[in-house]
């Protein structure tokens, strides 16, 4: 009980701040098929604001066990979290569409782009994510 209250105090203080995390989706080469950053840590109540740049992408929730497939709602059989397609022309320079995702859990949330072929694409020669995350936070 005592340990639980110790953990709860820092969490509450973070929730009150309600941070906005910016993520760029797509963009000019070589970032056309990427989320930047591709991982972040957020507290409950934080907002992740996705700004869609060139190409036609989505932000759709998936699961670790069934990667590249949408996580479906049990009742409606529709994706639980989905931004829908956000097409951006190659010559567009301003007024990029944005979509907000409010963090509702401290558990890992996995997202992918459901545009055909996009999920399985990406640079595999990146530095280990764990190293990058450790330096970023």
């Amino acid at each position: 009980m005592f340990a639980a209250s110790l953990i709860a105090i820092p969490l509450i203080s973070v929730v009150a701040a309600q941070q906005v995390h910016e993520v760029i989706v797509g963009g000019a080469a070589p970032n056309q098929i990427s989320y930047q950053p591709y991982a972040l840590s957020a507290a409950i109540g934080d907002i992740v604001r996705f700004t869609f740049k060139q190409k036609n992408h989505t932000v759709t929730q998936t699961s670790f066990a069934n990667v590249c497939h949408p996580l479906l709602d049990e009742y409606t059989q529709k994706p639980v979290v989905d931004s829908g397609f956000q097409p951006v022309a190659a010559d567009q320079t301003s007024e990029f569409p944005t979509w907000n995702y409010t963090v509702t859990t401290t558990e890992p949330v996995w997202m992918y782009c459901r545009q055909t072929g996009h999920c399985g694409q990406g640079k595999s020669n990146n530095a280990r994510t764990s190293d990058r995350l450790l330096t970023a936070f």
Partner: protein
């Protein structure tokens, strides 16, 4: 292209492993597409009287089927999304659905994915363990 909020830094469900799974999925899709296009390239069109139809991808599949104590190899031609030639499990899987849980007008879970031979049973998931007093 994948993204994660609050992924663990290390361990089995780290972002690195998630991305690896996504890339493997992408590679599998690409090789499947390649196999499909090479199959279509050699296939002949279906001709019915005066009508000619483009060939539909149905590769030859070699599969080892185990059913009970028996095991045999089967070779068949399969269209996309065809059902499995034999049951996946001899006994089937039991799906438990709670009807009207806690006095509510619901089924829990509201849907199940069932194969041939599976049974859908109404009733609680587990009643085998005795309650433990805390």
């Amino acid at each position: 292209m994948v993204f994660s909020v609050n992924c663990p830094l290390t361990g089995t469900n780290s972002f690195d492993n998630f991305k690896k799974a996504a890339l493997e999925y992408g590679a599998a899709q690409t090789s499947e597409e390649a196999a499909k296009s090479s199959w279509v390239a050699t296939a002949t069109s279906e001709v019915y009287g005066s009508q000619t139809y483009a060939p539909v991808y149905h590769p030859t599949v070699t599969d080892t089927v185990t059913f009970g104590n028996e095991s045999w190899t089967t070779v068949y031609e399969s269209y996309a999304n065809s059902p499995a030639p034999t049951p996946a499990a001899p006994q089937g899987v039991e799906h438990r659905v709670i009807v009207g849980n806690n006095g509510s007008l619901t089924f829990d879970p509201p849907r199940v994915s069932a194969a041939v031979r599976d049974t859908v049973v109404s009733g609680p998931q587990t009643l085998k363990t005795t309650p433990v007093l805390i």
